[in-house]
């Protein structure tokens, strides 16, 4: 296992006397890609600025390779070992080449030594052909590529990415995400990325931290965070569309029977009988069959219900089913056509007991 490159302990930041960040602690290992996800205003960008030593903290400690980052020369040395890319490319009024050179020039690198480094990084982000163009005359995607090339040119040990794809159109974003992933792999750079797009986080991250109210609500692997959210807020942000309040009716052998309104569902997990719980079900774990059919499946939860609505959501459709409680499923357009899914139609909704993540209801 690789060593810890960055550690955060008791980091607190206020703005105008209002606390905006309160992080008890976390660590990042060398070569790891950590994404900070969460709605706007939850402190993702503030945490990144804190990690970069760019904002005044009330208290707390940032450690880099086990040594605390302090003000003065050590902070400058630390900053010269990291790079940061913002949502806006923030390029200088100079050529693309000069922009990529800027970080190296700041470090006092000789002009002759710079050239191969710059050319390598221009090529890495596919902007070599724009080298002599003014940064003011390139597209938004090209500008963000240049910004990434500028960041990677300094060969940072740690790169901080603050919503780097937020201003890009989908095809441009797709291409840049791929190139960034490639650059991360070949350089082995450690990264922390703030994003409100969980799909970006899922594609690139080794771990995901979900931020809520200036703190980290949950940190774990993408599978852990997506499938086992620790709270209602995390569940809602990571795309759990069905959140049910229920009471444990029976608990045996790692299986729970939970009473939800007038229905009962089977869940995997352990909890004392009679306890109030929250059940999280991801929409992609729900399968829809024609009404009355007996699906050839080992799934424990087979519920009849009526379709409330069918809404397009990009490539898929969200089908909301009333089966004593509201249950959402994501299906393809092909399924909508084949099954004739329309509001008012009766269907059978199926999901496995292991697809239900159960937590104790807060305060219960």
């Amino acid at each position: 296992m690789k060593g810890v490159i960055l550690s955060v302990r008791n980091l607190k930041v206020s703005r105008g006397g209002v606390p905006v960040l309160d992080i008890p602690g976390f660590e990042i290992r060398t070569g790891e890609f950590l994404s900070l996800i969460g709605p706007n205003g939850t402190g993702k960008s503030t945490l990144l600025l804190g990690l970069a030593g760019l904002i005044r903290k009330d208290r707390g400690e940032i450690g880099f390779h086990g040594k605390p980052v302090e003000n003065g020369a050590r902070l400058l040395d630390y900053r010269r070992r990291l790079a940061m890319v913002f949502q806006e490319p923030l390029l200088f009024d100079a050529t693309v080449y000069e922009n990529v050179a800027s970080g190296l020039r700041i470090r006092g690198m000789a002009r002759s030594s710079m050239r191969p480094v710059i050319e390598e990084n221009l090529a890495l982000f596919d902007v070599a052909h724009l080298s002599s163009r003014s940064a003011r005359k390139i597209s938004g995607g090209e500008a963000q590529r240049t910004s990434l090339a500028r960041a990677f040119a300094t060969n940072p040990e740690l790169i901080l990415l603050d919503e780097p794809f937020a201003s890009l159109d989908p095809p441009t974003k797709e291409a840049i995400v791929q190139d960034l992933g490639h650059a991360m792999r070949i350089r082995g750079t450690t990264a922390v990325m703030a994003t409100h797009d969980r799909m970006d986080a899922l594609r690139l991250s080794d771990r995901i931290a979900v931020m809520d109210g200036g703190g980290i609500a949950q940190i774990g692997t993408p599978a852990e965070v997506m499938n086992q959210p620790v709270s209602e807020a995390v569940a809602a942000f990571v795309g759990v569309e069905t959140i049910l309040k229920g009471r444990v009716r029976s608990s045996a052998g790692g299986a729970l029977q939970v009473e939800v309104g007038s229905r009962e569902i089977f869940c995997a997990g352990t909890c004392e009988q009679g306890k109030e719980v929250l059940c999280f079900i991801r929409p992609e774990h729900v399968t829809i069959y024609p009404e009355g059919s007996r699906p050839d499946s080992s799934a424990r939860n087979v519920l009849s219900g009526t379709i409330r609505s069918v809404q397009p959501i990009g490539m898929l459709y969200r089908v909301s089913i009333d089966c004593g409680f509201s249950l959402n499923a994501h299906v393809t357009g092909q399924s909508v056509d084949d099954l004739g899914l329309l509001p008012g139609k009766g269907v059978t909704a199926v999901f496995k007991a292991t697809a239900v993540h159960v937590i104790r209801k807060p305060g219960a």
Partner: protein, 232 residues
């Protein structure tokens, strides 16, 4: 109309015959206003940048003072510089009153708030995140300030133009602290005032036209640079 045409003809004649007195006045005007602009750029850009980037109690008051300074009448500046340089004034021992240095000093005082105000606005207009981006690139504070000034160079050219335009055309302070002494402190504006007073309108127009030509040429050069570099 005939008077104006005669004045323009006279200006051309004075310029192309290299009239030594006119050449001397013109050279002194350019030298004095050029040096005053140079000093005001040094002080004004530094002051504007510091006020734009720093956060300190009373900052708004300082910004208001700079903005007020941009509109201070030259005669008021001339009055205070005269008092300071007067034989019994705080700086009287330098014996600078009625010297070209006194005009440079007064003109620098006039131009500095203009340059500082435009610099402040130019630096403030840059995105806040750009400052963070430069620091995140590993820049020291001095490197950051240099890079920000470089980024604001186009609006700063406007500061140069405004500063130079403000001092080359000012007359009140130059007369008060320079005295319009022939061959020593006489500049284009003070000479124009004097010739007008004497009723020599043709020479006054000629001097005015020369002043306009030089002001236009210098501003045209600076505008050329500014427009060439203007981001599209």
């Amino acid at each position: 109309m005939e008077l104006i045409l005669e004045g323009i003809r006279k200006a051309i004649w004075l310029l192309f015959t290299f009239d030594p007195e006119v050449l001397g006045i013109t050279w002194l005007s350019l030298k004095v206003s050029g040096l005053a602009t140079f000093f005001s750029l040094f002080i004004g850009i530094s002051l504007g940048t510091v006020v734009a980037l720093a956060r300190f109690p009373g900052r708004r008051l300082v910004v208001s003072l700079i903005n007020t300074g941009m509109g201070v009448p030259p005669v008021v500046v001339g009055l205070f510089v005269t008092i300071f340089l007067w034989r019994n004034g705080p700086l009287g021992f330098f014996e600078l009153l009625y010297t070209p240095t006194a005009i440079i000093l007064a003109q620098a005082v006039i131009a500095t708030p203009i340059v500082a105000g435009i610099s402040l606005a130019s630096i403030q207009k840059l995105p806040e995140a750009l400052r963070l981006q430069i620091l995140a690139l590993g820049a020291t504070r001095i490197q950051m300030v240099r890079m920000l000034i470089r980024e604001a160079r186009l609006p700063l050219l406007a500061a140069v133009m405004a500063g130079f335009g403000g001092v080359i055309s000012e007359v009140g302070a130059s007369i008060m602290v320079g005295g319009n002494i022939k061959g020593y402190t006489r500049v284009l504006t003070t000479a124009t005032v004097m010739e007008t007073g004497k009723g020599n309108f043709d020479i006054a127009i000629a001097l005015g036209v020369i002043l306009l030509i030089f002001t236009f040429c210098i501003n045209a050069i600076l505008t050329g640079i500014q427009q060439r570099e203007r981001p599209r």
